[in-house]
């Protein structure tokens, strides 16, 4: 059944296009990061404020650093933050959602309060608060902070699905066969949620990257590492827009937009594949 799902996804046009764009950008960034010498990103490596030319494909910033090499690093770090935050959010959310939904009782009551609290807190405000309280975040640190608010919604939704799934006859059958509660969750219920969780992972990545850009643009991002959001921050700090250094802010905005579009296409592809199938299954 799982193989069938992946097969169908691969046949969906939106999914494939989104997937290709994303992979191309990421691979390009990795290759660039490996090949372009590190010194290009040092302050003063080149004359500052150079528009795109033969030596620097994307020009340089006000500190004389190559835009291209920064972009490569930025993509890798931003995507890293997105993926890690999404992974933690989805996995922790699943763990809490399944446990809360299946075990019920007092465990459910406690976890539900936790979920509700995190869902009703305005996440961006708190992210800003936390990030500003921490002196100096790393890329991994940002991922963890963002993950803090990424688990509650999937937990809620998974819990809701589990509440209805656990009434189904095949769960009774599993109990009669001597399976333990954990075994039932992992072997019987998780497969039902796998497709949803994959789709959720993609959405969470998008949301996390968005959160990171937002925080970084406000100056709350990692100071010592480059992310796409930080590039915009630096560009704004140096009045790149005002000075017409379109290659600096433009390349970043274009890259960010492309990544968001690719992730959104992936989301649409998932939606198209999952929903009609879910309808026929239920």
């Amino acid at each position: 059944m799982k193989r069938g799902f992946v097969g169908i996804l691969m046949g969906n046009r939106k999914f494939i296009i989104g997937f290709i764009i994303f992979i191309v950008i990421l691979t390009g960034a990795i290759i660039a990061h490996q090949t372009i010498p590190f010194r290009y990103s040092r302050t003063g490596a080149f004359p500052p404020g150079l528009p795109p030319g033969v030596k620097n494909i994307l020009g340089t910033d006000s500190l004389g650093r190559g835009i291209g090499v920064q972009l490569a690093e930025g993509i890798i770090n931003s995507v890293q933050i997105g993926l890690i935050a999404a992974l933690i959010g989805t996995l922790v959310g699943a763990l809490i959602g399944f446990t809360s939904g299946y075990y019920g009782g007092i465990i459910d009551a406690i976890l539900r309060i936790l979920m509700d609290v995190f869902l009703s807190i305005p996440s961006l405000l708190f992210l800003i608060l936390i990030a500003s309280l921490m002196r100096g975040v790393t890329v991994q640190g940002m991922a963890l902070i963002i993950a803090l608010f990424a688990w509650a919604s999937p937990a809620r939704q998974i819990r809701a699905q589990v509440l209805s799934l656990k009434e189904r006859a095949f769960v009774d059958m599993a109990m009669l066969s001597g399976m333990s509660k954990m075994e039932i969750i992992t072997r019987e219920l998780v497969p039902h949620m796998f497709q949803w969780m994959s789709a959720n992972f993609v959405n969470a990545t998008l949301a996390a990257m968005l959160a990171e850009s937002g925080l970084s643009i406000l100056g709350l991002g990692p100071q010592n590492e480059m992310t796409l959001g930080m590039m915009i921050y630096w560009a704004l700090s140096y009045a790149a827009v005002f000075r017409g250094m379109w290659w600096w802010w433009g390349s970043t905005v274009f890259t960010l937009t492309s990544i968001f579009i690719s992730l959104y296409l992936l989301h649409l592809g998932f939606d198209e594949v999952i929903n009609p199938r879910m309808r026929s299954k239920i």
């Binding site: 059944m1 009774d172 019987e188 299954k281």
Partner: protein, 337 residues
């Protein structure tokens, strides 16, 4: 004194705890805040299943009778509000892990929906693999395959047509038979069958019911056959207990109870069964006063009072106890006081 001493060994062997005993079982759903006017799904129900010789006992009733609640209580899926379910003398609420394992092995179940009982993501082989693994029924793969195939043959299926397939690739009748094969693998003493054929086509029903009777006659497996269909209950059961609104209306030998019911509700039920013979139409008319259908509060006396053609004053005071009206034939009606 002497006589007693001589008799004692016999009594001892006869007092071995029955396979399954249900004692004064009551289940009320809801938070228990409103004690008054809250309906019990099952009230003060008692029953004893010896296990051998194997018998088919029907629990018959309509929706709201409590029959499904009873099944779920017996299987340990629900906790009773009052009363106990005892497996070989032990209360299942407080059994230790080892006893649970043997309980699960000796008391199995098949359910109504032949599709819902399967996890659609796995091939049907998995239902066998799980029990073989959990109950250590085989030492290796070959043995596992062999006993699985044997079980499939017992229920009339061809292993090569069934193994490796997904649930949606098989028919309802095949899926239900696979579940019987799975239960059979465990060589249980009792199978709780909750409406096993109500979602199966007529032409396949007979085949499955025949398998159930075969399992009872040739493999010593007793069945608790839960149904709303008195015709099938008449055909295959030895004993029958008819439930109405959580209480026993009548119980006894299945043939006797259904061919000449004594409780007014059971009489009405049997009369209303549509007989597949145009020469035997429904006699007269049945009127369900709509006021009665809309009435939500519970009566203090007999629950069938409103519809009963023989209602008397005494019926309003308290629900009638079960009166003995023949050999092992009981009816809860003041008519038989």
């Amino acid at each position: 004194m002497n006589v007693q001493k001589e008799v004692q060994p016999n009594i001892l062997s006869q007092t071995q705890a029955p396979l399954l005993e249900v004692c004064n079982l009551t289940k009320v759903f809801g938070s228990g805040l409103l004690q008054r006017g809250q309906k019990a799904a099952l009230e003060n129900f008692s029953m004893s299943i010896q296990g051998s010789p194997s018998r088919i006992i029907s629990i018959a009733g309509e929706s709201g009778s409590g029959k499904t609640t009873l099944a779920r209580l017996i299987l340990g899926f629900l906790i009773p509000t009052q009363g106990e379910v005892r497996y070989r003398g032990k209360d299942i609420k407080t059994m230790d892990q080892k006893s649970w394992k043997t309980f699960r092995r000796e008391v199995q179940a098949i359910f109504q929906d032949p599709y819902g009982v399967y996890n659609p993501f796995y091939p049907i082989d998995r239902v066998f693999e799980i029990v073989i693994q959990k109950f250590h029924l085989a030492k290796n793969r070959q043995e596992s395959r062999r006993i699985t195939e044997e079980a499939l043959v017992v229920v009339g299926l061809r292993p090569d047509e069934i193994l490796g397939k997904y649930p949606h690739q098989l028919s309802g009748g095949q899926r239900q038979r696979i579940m019987l094969a799975r239960a059979f693998l465990l060589k249980p003493k009792l199978i709780i069958a909750d409406e096993p054929v109500s979602m199966i086509d007529a032409s396949m029903r007979a085949i499955i019911l025949k398998i159930i009777m075969d399992l009872k006659d040739n493999f010593g497996i007793s069945f608790l056959y839960i149904t709303h269909d008195l015709s099938t209950a008449f055909q295959i059961s030895d004993d029958i207990i008819v439930l109405y609104e959580g209480l026993v209306a009548e119980s006894g030998d299945a043939e006797i109870v259904i061919s000449s019911p004594k409780h007014p509700y059971v009489q009405l039920l049997v009369e209303s069964i549509p007989i597949p013979d145009p020469d035997q139409p429904w006699q007269g008319r049945v009127e369900l006063p709509p006021e009665e259908e809309l009435e939500k509060d519970t009566l203090r006396g007999c629950k069938f009072y409103r519809r009963c053609p023989y209602k008397m004053e005494i019926c309003l005071k308290n629900p009638p106890p079960l009166y003995n009206i023949g050999a092992d034939h009981l009816a809860a009606c003041y008519l038989y006081k």
